[in-house]
Symmetry: C2
């Protein structure tokens, strides 16, 4: 058990809600890999509804982490989503913080129980 | 750019919003390490307001991931928070999924840009 004073802030303090949210982290990690994808590809990869995916894409676009490109493929309207440089940077920062969290967890996991 | 069919679901699909939320992930990772802490210790570690911390603790307690213990230290009322076995299991599952996400990110990061 612990009490009292703050030392270093915990890694979770550095997480950005815009990027950390489950659905938005999913969108950014898929796009971090494929760079550009259709709305329907993201939907199927991330198992999100149209409404949900649309809403989270708007949040990311408002922060300029993705760009939405509306167009046609033949006669069918299509939306493409592309990650921006700011999106890449935000994703890299999130991943770095998650790695800190995971490594903290794994360090304490190695301690014998009475030392926690 | 990618289009079309779903293969394996993306690791983010396996994230649980209850545990993944930034503040709640912070609470659980601190408690995963120290097992039991006072409200004020969590507050200072996680840089949360009383209201915010209280609200997220209630969510975690409702899911039986933490137990809240109210008592006194001398004459001062105190709240202790303890992680449950279910909390440990949920945290371990979240960490395992985050590791998958991070390792996917690091694999694609090693590819030359034109192969993405």
């Amino acid at each position: 058990m612990s009490d009292g004073h703050a030392e270093q802030p915990h890694p979770s303090v550095g997480l950005d809600d815009v990027v950390h949210h489950r659905a938005r982290l999913g969108i950014l990690t898929v796009l971090g890999q494929v760079r550009k994808a259709t709305f329907s590809y993201l939907k199927s990869q991330l198992r999100l509804t149209d409404g949900n995916l649309g809403r989270h894409l708007e949040v990311l676009a408002a922060e300029e982490l993705v760009t939405l490109i509306k167009g046609y493929e033949g006669r069918r309207p299509r939306t493409w989503v592309e990650i921006t440089d700011a999106g890449d940077a935000a994703l890299a920062a999130e991943i770095a913080t998650l790695k800190q969290l995971v490594s903290r967890f794994e360090q304490h996991g190695a301690l014998p129980r009475q030392d926690r």
